[in-house]
C-alpha cells in the first residue's frame, strides 16, 4: 500500500462495519489509511454496490469494488470483481494509478 501512497494515492476503505469494529481491525492489522463506516449501507446503495442479506444475520453489506478517483472527483479506474475469491492485486491498482492525470 505504501507504493500507492508514494504515487499520491490515498486508500479509503468503506464497509458497514462500525467505527469501533474498523478501529479494532486497523489496530490488529496495522493499517494506517482511512476506514469509513456506512452502517446502514446508505452510501453503498448510492454507489449501487448493495449485496442484500449477504452479511451475518442477513445484514445488507457491500459487494467488493474499488474506484480510483482523481483530484477532481472523477473515476479513472474501477474494479468490480465477479468472484469473491478474485481480487485486484496491488499491481492492478498501480496500473490504474497510471491513469491519473
Amino acid at each position: 500500500m505504501s507504493e500507492l501512497e508514494r504515487r499520491g494515492v490515498w486508500p479509503v476503505a468503506i464497509s458497514v462495519d462500525s467505527p469501533e469494529e474498523s478501529a479494532a481491525l486497523c489496530k490488529k492489522a496495522g493499517y494506517t489509511y482511512t476506514f469509513l463506516s456506512d452502517p446502514n449501507a446508505e452510501l453503498i446503495r448510492h454507489y449501487y454496490l448493495l449485496h442484500r442479506g449477504a452479511g451475518v444475520d442477513g445484514k445488507d453489506i457491500a459487494r467488493p469494488a474499488e474506484f480510483l478517483v482523481d483530484a477532481t472527483g472523477v473515476v479513472r479506474w474501477r474494479n468490480l470483481t465477479e468472484d469473491l475469491r478474485v481480487r485486484a492485486t496491488p499491481d492492478d491498482v498501480l496500473k490504474g494509478a497510471q491513469l491519473l492525470p
Binding site: L36, G55, F67, G73, L80, E82
Partner: protein, 162 residues
C-alpha cells in the same frame, strides 16, 4: 472347503492404503485451499493446485477400489473403498460448489459509477468517529506525506469483518 482354500481365506489380506490415502488427500484439499492456497493469487483465482489434489485422490481411490474387488483375496476395502470414494466425491463437490458457484453469487452492480463518471459525494464517520467527506479527502494533504494533496483516492468497498 479344501485345505488350500481354507488357508487362502484365512491369510491376512493387505491393507488397502490407496483408498485411505486417496480419501485423506481429498479431505485435505478443502482446508488446503481455504487456509493455504488462498494466500497466493496464482492458486487462489483458479484453484488448479486443489483440483490436482482431487485428481490425485480420485486416481488413488480408483486403483484402490479396483484392487479391492479384482483381488479380493489380496486386498481389503470392498466396503470401505466405495464409502470413502463417495465421501471424497462429496468433498470435491463441496469444493466445486464453493469456488465455482457460491463465490460468484455477487449482484451485478449495473448502476455503479463508471470510468469518467463523477464519484458521488459522501460524508461518513472514520475510526475515531470524525465525519469525513470525499471532497475533504481529495483536497487535504495525506497523513504522513510532505503536504501535497493526493493525486487521487482509492475507494475500497469491502464486505466487512464482523
Amino acid at each position: 472347503m479344501t485345505k488350500q482354500e481354507k488357508a487362502t481365506g484365512e491369510r491376512k489380506r493387505k491393507w488397502n492404503w490407496r483408498i485411505w490415502s486417496g480419501f485423506l488427500l481429498a479431505v485435505a484439499a478443502v482446508p488446503g485451499y481455504f487456509l493455504f492456497f488462498v494466500r497466493f493469487p496464482i492458486t487462489r483465482n483458479v484453484p488448479w493446485a486443489s483440483w490436482l489434489m482431487f485428481a490425485g485422490a480420485g486416481w488413488l481411490l480408483w486403483v484402490g477400489v479396483r484392487r479391492a474387488f479384482a483381488s479380493r483375496q489380496v486386498y481389503r476395502g470392498r466396503i470401505a473403498g466405495p464409502i470413502l470414494a463417495v465421501l471424497s466425491l462429496g468433498a470435491a463437490g463441496l469444493f466445486g460448489y464453493a469456488t465455482l458457484y457460491a463465490s460468484r453469487q455477487l449482484p451485478v452492480a449495473a448502476g455503479a459509477p463508471r470510468v469518467g463518471d463523477k464519484a458521488p459525494e459522501f460524508v461518513l464517520a472514520d475510526t475515531s468517529g470524525k465525519m469525513v467527506a470525499l471532497s475533504t479527502l481529495l483536497s487535504e494533504p495525506m497523513p504522513g506525506m510532505e503536504g501535497g494533496k493526493p493525486r487521487g483516492v482509492l475507494l475500497v468497498f469491502y464486505r466487512g469483518y464482523w
